[in-house]
Amino acid sequence: MHVPDGFFEAPVTVGAAVTSVAVVSYAARRSRDELSDAAAPMAGLMSAFVFAVQMLNFPVAAGTSGHLMGATLAAVLLGPWTATLCISVVLAMQALLFADGGLTALGINIVLMAIVPGFVGAAVFSLLGRCGRATNRGRAARAGVAALVSVPASAAVFAFLFAWGGAVELSLAPLLSAMVSVHVLIGIGEGVITATTVAAVLAARPDLMRAGARRALA
C-alpha cells in the first residue's frame, strides 16, 4: 500500500505534499489540546503499535498482500488530529528507516493512510455512536465497522488520484473496482484487529478509551 517514488505525476505529488504539510501542522497545533501529559506515552505507543502492525503482511486474493493501517484505531483512541500526527510520523520514519514508501511520495502516503482513513474512521465511529448502544461491546463493534469502511475509502481515493495524475493512463472504473474489492478484504482484517484491540482497551483500561472516544465525538 505504501506508494513509492515516481508512481504519481508531479502535480499530484506536490498537491498531496502541500495538503499534508498543512493538515499535519494544523494537527500538531490541535493535538496540543488533545494530548495531556498523561497521553504523551499513548501517542508514542500508538505510533510504535501502528508501526509494528503495518509490518504484518497477510495474503489477500490473487497473490497480492496487504497490511493493516491502524488509522481508525488511532483516531478512536486518540482523536483524529493526534492520530493524523502519529501516523504521519510512522510513515515518515518508515520511508527513512526502511525505504518503505518513497520520500517524495510521503505527502501522498500521509493523505492516503493517515488523513483519509483517520477522519473517515472517526466520522463513521461517531455517526454510529448516535444510534448504537453505549455498551463496551457496542463501542468495540462500532470501531471495527469504522475501520472496515475506512480502508476501501482510502483505496477509492487512491484510484481517483491515480486515474487523475498517475504515472500511467488507466481508466477509472476497472481500477476503482479492483482497488476497492481487494481493500474490502483488507478492511475485514483491519476491522477485526481494531475491534479486538478496542475491546481489550475497554476491558482493561476504560479510562484511556473514554478520553479518546469523547474526542472522536467532539
Partner: protein
C-alpha cells in the same frame, strides 16, 4: 532487546558511511531520492546516469549491495504491479515476442521500475548505515520541528517495549501448548493484538514515569549539539549535489 536494542534496519558493518554525520546522510539520501523521482518521464536515459552514480557511490563507501538486494522485497509488490502496466494500460499496441502490449504502458513501466529501484537503493543505504536513533538526531540537526522528532524518538523507544512484550507473550503461548504452525495462530495473533496494546501501554506508562523522574520536560532533549563536520558535506553531500545536477540536466535536454 539487548544486543539489537532499537537497531531496526542497521546492517552496515564495514561501510565507510557508518561514521558520517547522520544529518549529512539524511540530507544526501533525500536529495538523491527526490532527484530520481523528479526525472522527466520523456528522458528515461537520465535514470541510467542516476543508477551508475548511486552504484559507484555505494561501491566507494563499501556498502554491501547484496544486503540491499535482500531488502528489496519491500518494493517487490510495486515492481510486479508496474510490470503489469503494459498489459493493462490503454493506447497504441505493439507486439513484443508475440505479446500485444501497450506502448505508453511499456514506457511507463520501465520508468516506474527504474525510479523505484534506484530510489530504494539510495534510501536503503541510509537505513543500513545509520542507527534509528541517529536518524532522529540527524533530523534534529536539520531543524525538523520538535513535535515531530519527539514523537519519532518516543516511537523508537516504545517499538522496543512492544517487541519485548510480544516475544514474552509468544513464549507464554508456546509454553501453554500453542502450536505456532497451525492456522489457529492467526486467530491467537489477532486476539493478542489487543492485549499486546494494553500491556505495551502499561509498560510504556512506567517508562514515561521514569522519564519524568529523570527530568523529562515534554520534549526530547537535543543531544545533537555536536556540529556537523564540513568535510562530511564534501565527501558525502557532494553525491547528492551530483544527483540534483543530473536531474536538472535531464530537464534542460527535454525542455
Amino acid at each position: 532487546m539487548g544486543a539489537n536494542h532499537a537497531s531496526l534496519g542497521f546492517d552496515g558493518a564495514g561501510s565507510l558511511l557508518v561514521d558520517v554525520a547522520p544529518a549529512v546522510k539524511v540530507a544526501t539520501a533525500v536529495a538523491v531520492v527526490a532527484s530520481v523521482a523528479l526525472v522527466p518521464a520523456d528522458a528515461p536515459w537520465v535514470l541510467v546516469f542516476h543508477g551508475v552514480v548511486v552504484l559507484v557511490g555505494l561501491r566507494t563507501a563499501q556498502v554491501s549491495l547484496r544486503s540491499i538486494g535482500r531488502r528489496a522485497r519491500i518494493v517487490a509488490p510495486f515492481v510486479v504491479g508496474a510490470a503489469l502496466l503494459p498489459f493493462l494500460a490503454s493506447g497504441e499496441r505493439v507486439d513484443i515476442v508475440g505479446l500485444s502490449v501497450s506502448r505508453p504502458g511499456l514506457a511507463a513501466a520501465i520508468v516506474v521500475i527504474g525510479k523505484v529501484l534506484v530510489g530504494f537503493t539510495a534510501g536503503a543505504a541510509l537505513v543500513m548505515t545509520t542507527e534509528p536513533v541517529d536518524i532522529v538526531r540527524g533530523l534534529q540537526q536539520l531543524r525538523v520541528p520538535r513535535t515531530f522528532t519527539t514523537i519519532a524518538g518516543l516511537m523508537l523507544r516504545f517499538a522496543d517495549v512492544l517487541r519485548g512484550e510480544s516475544s514474552r507473550m509468544q513464549i507464554a503461548r508456546i509454553a501453554r501448548g500453542d502450536d505456532p504452525r497451525s492456522i489457529a495462530q492467526v486467530r491467537a495473533t489477532a486476539r493478542t493484538a489487543g492485549v499486546l496494546f494494553v500491556r505495551g501501554y502499561e509498560r510504556g506508562e512506567r517508562v514515561h514515569q521514569s522519564m519524568i523522574a529523570r527530568g523529562w520536560s515534554g520534549a526530547m532533549p537535543d543531544t545533537s549539539k555536536r556540529s556537523v563536520p564540513i568535510e562530511d558535506w564534501f565527501r558525502v553531500g557532494s553525491w547528492g549535489a551530483v544527483a540534483v545536477f543530473i536531474t536538472a540536466f535531464g530537464w534542460m535536454t527535454v525542455g
